[in-house]
């Protein structure tokens, strides 16, 4: 089962990973301190494939890419939130951390719920309470980046112009 880890509104990048830990760019090193102040038990107990669930404006604050990298490094499958702050949204897509915008799921899912996510359809199932949710579809060009596994992989194989063509 994939466990839900829930976080509140306006989860900022300092809360995701405090600035003092951003002296490395190694995903596994960063993952050691992800959410260390708001949810210290996360790093000890997270299992690969678990799901992060946030409220409005998830990832607000700094442009630091360390934030989505730290979450990805912790082996979480994806982030579901009511809404995302704009730089975090871009960063997550660019580094290949799947994100789903779904206010209904964000409001309904409780800590520890057993969550199944279909990333390609955006369907989310809460096996704990039996509820189903549908995330907002991502724009086509964002899907192109996400499907390539991030912008770096996209550009290895394509010209930037192909993003919008």
């Amino acid at each position: 089962m994939a466990k839900a880890w829930t976080f509140g509104e306006n989860m900022n990048t300092d809360e995701i990973i405090p600035g003092r830990y951003n002296i490395t760019i190694d995903p596994l090193e960063l993952a050691k301190n992800v959410f260390c102040e708001v949810k210290p038990e996360y790093t000890k107990n997270v299992i690969a494939g678990d799901v992060i669930v946030g409220g409005q404006n998830f990832g607000c604050g700094s442009s630091r890419e360390h934030a989505p990298i730290a979450i990805k490094g912790s082996q979480a499958k994806c982030v579901i939130a009511a809404s995302f702050a704009r730089i975090f949204f871009r960063n997550a897509i660019n580094i290949g951390l799947p994100i789903l915008e779904c206010p209904e799921a964000a409001a309904d899912i409780s800590e520890g719920d057993d969550i199944e996510v279909n990333l390609s359809t955006g369907q989310i199932v809460n096996h704990t309470n039996g509820h189903h949710y549908q995330a907002r579809p991502l724009p086509d060009f964002v899907l192109k980046i996400a499907e390539a596994g991030g912008i770096v992989n996209f550009l290895k194989a394509h010209d930037i112009q192909e993003l919008l063509s």
Partner: protein
Amino acid sequence: MGTLIEEIFSQRAGRRVQSGEILLLNVDYIMSHDNTTPLAIKAFREIGKPILDKNKIVLHLDHAYPAPNVLAAENHRKILDFVKEQGLPYLFKQGVCHQVMIEEGFVTPGSIVIGADSHSNTYGAMGAFGTGLGSTEIGVAWITGKCWFKVPETIRVELHGQTQPGVYAKDVMIHIAGLLGMDGGTYRSVEFGGEYIENLPMHERIIFPNMSTEIGAKCGLIAADAVTMHYLENETPARGPFESIFPVSPHYERRLDIDVSNLPPQVACHPDVDNVKPLTEVEGLEVHEVYVGTCTNARYEDLEIVANILKGKRVNPLTRVIITPASARIYKKAMKNGLIEILMDAGCTVTGTGCGACIGRHGGILAPGERALTTMNRNFVGRMGSPLSEIYLASPATAAATALTGRITDPRSIMETTIKH
């Protein structure tokens, strides 16, 4: 026909564009600093294609400079080696990146400047489109010279009247952050204008786009006018003719009209930038550190306000008072005109330039249980050090008044009539 951001993007796209469209645009400059450049280098190397135009790349060492530890030094080494390897022409070690970008003339009306730093919105003060991105996109832009943007909807903030003595642009912007909230501008362009902005000098205008980041905005814009052109011609190496871009019959998603005439000094209280109160409601709260610095409020005029209040006085001996000029140019001017001596004589610690204290790296870290009053733009929990410390945001005048007493103090209570507003 369009909002300021639609006009700027239309000019660059070579056709009329509207909010909601997604564009791939050429950018003029690509900024990054010691915190974000190493990841950009990593993305650049992984893609494995050459830099399109070296003259677009501007690098700064400011976030942990001089290096406070070995890892920071390794980051600097990595960047300096990259500059040498690629023969990059623009590397700065002389202050907070956004201030240096403006001082060095990289930001002009209608230009597009992207930065691997959330406060790249600052460039909007010059009528430029500035926005913050992550490092990977910066590495991508080194190779492509381009970036994708969704043309945002616009919130127009129309400011009327003039502030009272002791009340500054910082107080007005904190007030706006309280009204709109920390996600009130998410994905939006926030356009600042009106009689109040038109009469404002450049050093105070900069605060509005700078702090538009705190309300989630993609950009904060002020249309360039005679004040902008005069500043660019006289204070930067940029030379015109500059483009004149302004909103034409714009359609705004939302418009806010605010009269600043009777606004008292404001404080953004722990733990959120939109937890805004009139200063009088938190007056007397004990403060353990006063920090005047950052891309928001450490320009020459800010230091002058602080020096005018502290001249001939002593700051509270139990309060650490730290002044970090935003750039070397500001530092030199402050030194030449005697401000640094006044600040030091008053018991302030004047540090080298940079961003260290604002991001909890070095130069002013807080202990558990401590409270700081700062001229910064951001008061996230733990930002300046311990997660058990608190940050309150205010104007340089409020910071100076607070430095004298060690408690949050209304600058109007100690400002004499001789003090320049």
